[in-house]
């Protein structure tokens, strides 16, 4: 890795890690994950299932919040505070700046998710659930999902305000979770052009549903290794495409 990119990445990580919001969200993620024990007391039958469902959902939710809140501010703040002038005046290209920002955010997400995952693993083991390898696979898939979200928020952060970035990123996140309905929806469309349009959107918008293997992991149903492999490749390709688009926009931006 180029030293310039590494420098930006490390600084981005430090900056995110110093943010109070980051700690607050990690804290609440852990708190809600642990409080899944209380929810599991209320059910009848398999309490471990409810504990895992609630805990994983809490970790998922707070990690997505961290990804969005950290991502939407990153580039915008540099532009707003005019620190971008200082950075870009150094022997560093705009492409490297974006790559560094993304890698720093990816490291931040890894730290946040890692902290929550370790605590949750220990919690499940103490609660009698043992060491569930499926949960480890779920966290890996969640990390891929978070990388896509980070890339989306970084894209919006490069050309619009944090509020609009937040709205756009959340919208894309929600759409991404229900992309599986698009395939069914297009069959209801009578006009072929609409069907082509819907099909186009299906491939264009982020399909985040594939990373969500909570149900399979908790219910212990089989996970196709090929689908995992394709999801990994999808995430890498989609992140690459988003970063390229971000760089394209950022290159054209003029700072005043």
């Amino acid at each position: 890795m180029k030293p310039a990119i590494r420098g930006i990445a490390v600084n981005t990580f430090r900056e995110s890690a110093r943010n109070k919001m980051f700690y607050l969200l990690v804290f609440f993620g852990i708190l809600f994950a642990l409080s899944s024990k209380l929810v599991s007391f209320l059910t009848l039958g398999d309490a471990m299932k409810v504990l895992k469902d609630t805990g994983l959902a809490a970790i998922n939710f707070f990690c997505v919040l961290i990804a969005i809140f950290t991502g939407i501010n990153l580039v915008y703040k540099e532009i707003e505070k005019k620190t971008v002038f200082n950075i870009l005046s150094k022997p560093l290209s705009r492409d490297e700046f974006i790559a560094g920002k993304f890698l720093g955010l990816a490291l931040t997400m890894l730290t946040a998710l890692g902290a929550m995952a370790v605590i949750f693993f220990a919690f499940v083991a103490v609660s009698g659930g043992g060491f569930d390898l499926g949960i480890l696979l779920y966290f890996f898939m969640l990390y891929l999902e978070l990388l896509v979200i980070v890339a989306i928020s970084l894209l919006f952060s490069s050309f619009t305000t944090p509020i609009l970035s937040f709205i756009f990123t959340v919208s894309l996140y929600l759409i991404g979770q229900v992309m599986w309905t698009f395939n069914e929806f297009k069959d209801y469309l009578a006009i072929p052009l609409w069907r082509v349009f819907t099909q186009g959107l299906y491939y264009l918008l982020p399909n985040l549903h594939k990373f969500n293997i909570k149900n399979e992991v908790v219910m212990g149903t089989a996970i196709d290794p090929w689908s995992v492999l394709f999801s990994v490749l999808y995430a890498l390709a989609y992140v690459l495409a988003l970063l390229a688009l971000t760089v394209l926009i950022f290159r054209r931006r003029e700072f005043q």
């Binding site: 929810v39 209320l42 059910t43 009848l44 039958g45 398999d46 299932k49 409810v50 469902d53 609630t54 994983l56 959902a57 998922n60 939710f61 929600l174 979770q177 229900v178 309905t181 985040l208 549903h209 969500n212 909570k214 149900n215 908790v218 219910m219 149903t221």
Partner: protein, 281 residues
């Protein structure tokens, strides 16, 4: 008074006022009185979409809510939408077993609607191939509430066909055959269980059932032959072997343990050494 004190007084007064209003509000609501409730739920598929990737959590929350709701006995119309509620939960996560089991239990036991419970269990069985518990529960409800032993046997047949089905399903099936008055087939089934038993519990259970079925077949025959003997010789037989000597039976049947049945020559009664009242219909 300083500004800080004013603020403290204002905060305290506000809290007191709020507590007073809460008390007034409580006097208008009868929390524990009989009331009615209406449940409005979007269809399962819609909720699955609206859960935005958190469908397990939504199903869990709905299930936990349903347990609390159907345990609130002062809601008089609480069973009005029960089928819809459990259909929705099982539409969101068809693999979640507990809603089928608990839902059907509430339907059969509390709402006393066994056909509804069977519909839910049928759905569970259809959506979870290879799972025996739903057919087992359905069989039990047919046996316990409907007294429909043929239908119960069908369910137990389906349950027993699943690879992971426990041995007691086979026992339950044989018992149902016995209950629908087919002692010959029931004997064959119990003998099969008895011979292939791998544990004492199964073997003892099969033994007891075989003992019961044999006694239920032998005793009426012996009683009938004793009456015939008395009609023919104007006295009761001195021992059961008299029946064989008189040619009324080819040989005196013995119980499944190989022991003779207990005969009282003074009154002419014949009984088995062991009686299993718990197996009576």
């Amino acid at each position: 008074m300083t500004r800080r004190r004013w603020l403290a007084v204002a905060a305290l007064s506000g809290l007191l006022l709020a507590a007073g209003m809460q008390q007034r509000y409580d006097s208008t609501v009868d929390y524990f009185g009989e009331r009615s409730a209406f449940v409005s739920l979007p269809p399962g598929k819609t909720l699955r979409i609206l859960s935005f990737g958190y469908r397990n959590l939504v199903a869990d929350m709905l299930f936990i809510w349903s347990i609390q709701f159907y345990s609130t006995y002062n809601i008089r119309n609480r069973f009005d939408f029960i089928e819809r509620v459990y259909d929705t939960i099982t539409d969101i996560t068809p693999e979640y077993k507990e809603p089928y089991i608990i839902g059907s239990l509430i339907m059969a036991h509390e709402a006393q609607d066994v056909p509804m419970a069977l519909r839910l269990l049928d759905k569970g069985s259809r959506l979870n191939p290879g799972e025996w518990i739903f057919d087992h529960d359905a069989g039990f409800y047919c046996y316990k509430y409907l007294k429909d032993y043929t239908k119960a046997e069908e369910y137990y047949n389906r349950a027993a066909a699943n690879p992971g089905a426990p041995v007691f399903i086979k026992r339950m099936k044989a018992h149902l055959v016995y209950l629908r008055d087919d002692p010959e087939v029931a004997t064959r089934m119990w003998l099969d269980i008895y011979r292939s038993a791998e544990d004492t519990l199964t073997r003892d259970s099969a033994f007891n059932h075989l003992y019961q079925i044999k006694a239920e077949t032998d005793l009426p025959l012996l009683r009938e032959r004793i009456v015939e003997y008395q009609r023919r010789y104007r006295r009761l037989p001195a021992a059961l072997s008299d029946l064989a000597r008189a040619g009324l039976v080819r040989e005196v049947p013995r119980d499944f343990s190989g022991n003779e049945y207990i005969y009282d020559p003074a009154v002419g009664t014949v009984t088995a050494q062991r009686i299993f009242r718990w197996k009576k219909r």
